[in-house]
Amino acid sequence: MSALVAASDLAVSYGGGEPALAGVGFDLRPGERIAVLGPNGGGKTTLFRALLGELRPAAGTLRVAGRCASVPQTERSRLDFPVSALDVALMGTIPGRAWWRRPSRADRAAARAALARVDLADRAARTYGELSGGQRQRVLIARALVQDAEVLLLDEPFTGLDATSAARLEALLAELAGEGRGVLIATHDLEQARRWDRVLCVNGRQIAFGVPAATLTHDVLAATYGGAIVTLPPAHAGAPGPQEAILPPHHHHH
């Protein structure tokens, strides 16, 4: 099975300056979920922008075999915008059209089908900003599905979701991977990352890449997050040994 994404010795910089991310080598296979771990400013967003073709590799190679679609954090979008969930999903049909063309009947049908796919058919007419965080995230996934993307890039999709919404989103991601899509998920949640297929740790450069059990060692995490690691004692008697966790990241948007 050929990889959807293959990077080798990849470096990416903004405007020809010092690379914001270097030494990246990984592959994403169909049906795989890869967690992208790293501190804020560690290069996760830079990697996504390179995959989307917005930034060109400064060195190395990056091969993207399928169509990539990004699912940004929902706070990045305008919650006060006068759009319905269907309007947002319909934005996914834009890449397929010349700029002077309006959405066709088929485009609308595709947007509705994508909303149904993420279990939001009954919310199509709702105002986007009035949906819950988890529902908004799924609308943005629907927008990516409308583009028929084989590679989904999710930027901290679980931030701010309650347990039920998070479980629902996680199940959806498993289904999408089951359809043969490749899913890259930027996250700070180590527990989640351990459940997925592989992890990619970055902090200005690639720290490690591989299956979680072998990759998420204390040394790798220390190199990825610097000092922001705490070791938690077992939650209760009989629980598995000490667990590592990342201190809540300091959020700052660029």
Binding site: L52, E54, C68, A69, S70, P72, R76, S77, R78, D80, F81, P82, V83, S84, D87, V88, L90, M91, G92, I94, P95, W99, W100, R101, R102, P103, T127, L140, R143, Q147, H253, H254
Partner: protein, 274 residues
């Protein structure tokens, strides 16, 4: 009570305002949604020296005004887009600078070109009760273009405004729709000059759309409401101006501002703005 509306020059003012209401309802909503309100004000102000120059040099005033407004809109729009990309939102410093420069240049030029202050006043505040056939034609053309552009490009303008970064990733790479929006802003700024002048352009292009925005949560309904509101405000303003012998452009602007203030105090609007 309605006898002012039987006067031919008042009727022509009404026709002009109805056409401009269509412009305000379609383009005005995009101006508000895309944060171009101040840029629209600046484009109208920039048209002022263009009009004066055209008059002095003896070519069509509309052309002079449109040229200057277009130059302004494209320059500010382009620089604004760069700033958005780098910093996520820009301030209006540049717009303010160019706006002042344009007004000052216009006034200095006008002192050479015109010998009556009345002509300068009508350029700055409009001459709604002295609308000519050419003004009506320009308003009709601008309204038609705005309607057609909304029909064709609305989904793209919406996607870019909704989240610009994702829009780029979605493949909204063509600059054409956003550049066309700026061209339309310049065209609209010139189209409203005859009615409300360079300084009150936003009374038609921004205030009705901003008012209706408080009460609508879909673009289509918002645009229809804005057309109706701008038309009603225009008719009320003209009627008041004739009855009170007040300057018509300014009266329309005052009515629009008062309606905005009233609507903003409604409970639902307060909730929407929160």
């Amino acid at each position: 009570m309605l006898e002012p509306f039987q006067l031919p020059f008042v009727q022509r003012a009404l026709v002009e305002l109805l056409l401009l209401a269509v412009l305000a309802g379609t383009l005005g909503c995009w101006i508000v949604l895309r944060g171009l309100a101040f840029a629209a004000h600046g484009a109208a102000a920039a048209a002022f020296p263009g009009l004066v120059l055209a008059d002095g040099l003896g070519f069509a005033a509309t052309l002079g005004g449109f040229g200057a407004a277009l130059l302004f809109a494209l320059a500010v729009g382009r620089l604004g887009a760069r700033r958005d990309r780098d910093h996520g939102g820009g301030d209006g410093t540049l717009t303010a600078l160019v706006l002042v420069a344009a007004l000052a240049t216009g006034i200095v030029l006008a002192s050479d070109v015109f010998h009556s202050p009345a002509s300068v006043e009508s350029l700055l505040f409009g001459s709604l009760l002295a609308i000519g056939a050419g003004d009506v034609r320009l308003a009709a053309a601008a309204a038609l273009v705005a309607l057609a552009a909304t029909w064709l490009l609305g989904t793209r303008w919406l996607a870019t405004g909704f989240d610009p970064q994702a829009a780029r990733a979605l493949g909204v790479r063509s600059r054409v729709p956003d550049t066309l929006l700026l061209v339309l802003v310049a065209l609209a700024a010139v189209a409203v000059l005859a009615a409300v002048g360079a300084l009150l352009a936003t009374a038609l292009l921004v205030v009705p759309a901003a008012t209706a925005r408080l009460l609508s949560d879909r673009v289509g309904a918002w645009q229809l409401a804005t057309v109706a509101l701008a038309a009603a405000e225009g008719a009320l303003g003209v009627w008041l101006a004739v009855e009170l012998n007040a300057p018509p452009g300014a009266t329309v602007a005052v009515v629009a501002g008062a309606v905005f203030a009233l609507v903003a105090l409604l409970p639902r609007a307060r909730e929407a703005a929160a």
